[in-house]
């Protein structure tokens, strides 16, 4: 195994994950070098979200080997979590808490100073909306809040699950800006691969849990 310093950002070798009897990921192998952005494409139920959740250390792999920055999952999950910024299908925020309160919670979980909160609110274009309950924000603004949450701790690996969903033009431009400025690696599941033209370094198409 390569040392953590020289290892790729993401390496999957024969990754398999099941939900009961159903195989969601079937021996998927991929490598994402540091600084690379990989697009995951494929239809609904192809396994994109499952792959991102395994990489985010939320799901355990059932077979095969997965390593982030050379650290093997799930054994070294605690070591890699500080490096990961994950935007899921949902923005992963509490609707009854304000945008700022949600970010304060995650800042505490990631050990980040509160001064970073204003920076990510600005980054996501949520200035002036920090005091609004997350549940009262539009779908697009909640998506921006999810992105702000994922960027709080300046992660070196971004895992984005359909990040353009619900975003207006300004939101999309901000997302483009975040990705262009991000010096680390990214794995992005999307149904709009053409929108990422110029930002991607490679694509992997999944079909029924297998690399197609």
């Amino acid at each position: 195994m390569s040392s953590p310093e020289s290892a790729p950002a993401v390496r999957c070798d024969g990754l398999t994950r099941r939900y009961g009897e159903r195989v969601a990921l079937d021996a998927v192998s991929l490598t994402v070098a540091r600084g690379e952005r990989l697009l995951l494409t494929g239809g609904n139920g192809a396994g994109k979200t499952t792959l991102l959740r395994v990489l985010a250390t939320v799901l355990r792999p059932h077979a095969g080997e997965v390593a982030i920055d050379g650290h093997v999952l799930p054994r070294d999950a605690r070591k890699v979590r500080p490096a990961i910024g994950y935007v899921g299908h949902e923005p992963l925020v509490y609707p009854a808490l304000t945008a700022r309160e949600n970010l304060e919670l995650y800042a505490a979980l990631y050990g980040v100073g509160r001064e970073r909160i204003d920076q990510v609110l600005d980054l996501a274009g949520l200035n002036g909306r920090g005091a609004d309950p997350a549940g009262e924000l539009s779908r697009g603004l909640r998506q921006r809040l999810g992105l702000a949450r994922a960027m709080l701790h300046s992660p070196s690996l971004l895992l984005l699950d359909e990040p353009t969903t619900g975003l207006d033009e300004d939101g999309r431009e901000r997302l483009r800006g975040v990705l262009a400025a991000h010096r680390g690696a990214a794995v992005i599941a999307t149904h709009e691969p053409d929108w990422f033209a110029g930002l991607e370094h490679g694509r992997l198409r999944l079909a029924a849990g297998r690399a197609a």
Binding site: R53, A56, T57, V58, L59, R60, P74, R78, R81, P82, I84, Y86, G88, H89, E90, L92, V93, Y94, P95, A96, L97, E101, E104, L105, Y106, A107, A108, L109, Y110, G111, R149
Partner: protein, 225 residues
């Protein structure tokens, strides 16, 4: 510690804004005690103080189930588990914060229930030993909260969680509640539940210590998918 404080603050803020649990718990406990009182009419409860104390704890345990079955409901309904579980903070902080919040909610509920209990079932002017009673309640509530938060995490992604949680919780809680009943009886003179105060408190403290260690060590694994 920072993660624990932030998670506890979140749990308290959610309750303050949503008022989902504490009002329901208070209404349930008051309703149950009033119904029993009305059912007795002017009669004393057969079995005296012991029966009344047992009744109080049955009501407390079922009230706690109201809070426990809704534990982690927001995390489940809004997919927030993924956000919490992918964060680098120790996952046992999630359990500790949830147990602490449940402990506080139970305390509020009992602050309403106990005066009613005394009013309805101990009308002969006997005053309990407040130190023993408070220690017994605090230790028993802590055990209920820690055990409940651990099991609520275990069943949080199970479809039949509302049924499964009480089925798992009640057998584990039985020794705790049994001693809590006897301690509560002991706190009311001249009754004697047959259990020395120190022995009873020692048992409750041991139970709490065991479930504190189990919750801290196991929560990481019980919420893993």
């Amino acid at each position: 510690m920072r993660a624990y404080r932030a998670l506890l603050r979140k749990d308290l803020l959610l309750e303050l804004r949503g008022r989902e649990l504490v009002p329901a718990m208070v209404v349930f406990v008051v309703g149950a005690l009033v119904l029993v009182r009305l059912g007795l009419g002017g009669e004393r409860l057969a079995g005296g103080t012991r029966a009344a104390t047992g009744l109080l704890w049955v009501v407390v345990v079922f009230t706690s189930m109201l809070a426990l079955v809704r534990s982690f409901a927001q995390e489940r309904e809004h997919g927030i588990w993924d956000g919490l579980l992918s964060a680098p903070a120790d996952r046992s902080a999630i359990w500790a914060a949830r147990a602490s919040a449940t402990f506080l909610f139970l305390g509020v509920t009992q602050a309403v229930a106990l005066p009613l209990f005394w009013l309805f079932f101990l009308q002969d002017g006997r005053s309990p030993s407040l130190a023993v009673l408070a220690a017994a309640l605090a230790l028993a509530d802590l055990g209920v909260a820690m055990l409940g938060a651990l099991l609520a995490g275990l069943v949080s992604n199970v479809r039949a969680r509302e049924v499964l949680l009480p089925v798992l919780f009640l057998p584990f809680a039985l020794p705790l509640v049994s001693v809590a009943v006897r301690m509560t009886v002991d706190s009311i003179p001249p009754q004697n539940g047959g259990l020395g105060a120190l022995h009873g408190l020692g048992f409750l403290a041991l139970y709490d210590t065991i479930f504190a260690l189990l919750g801290w060590a196991l929560f990481e694994y019980v919420v893993e998918d």
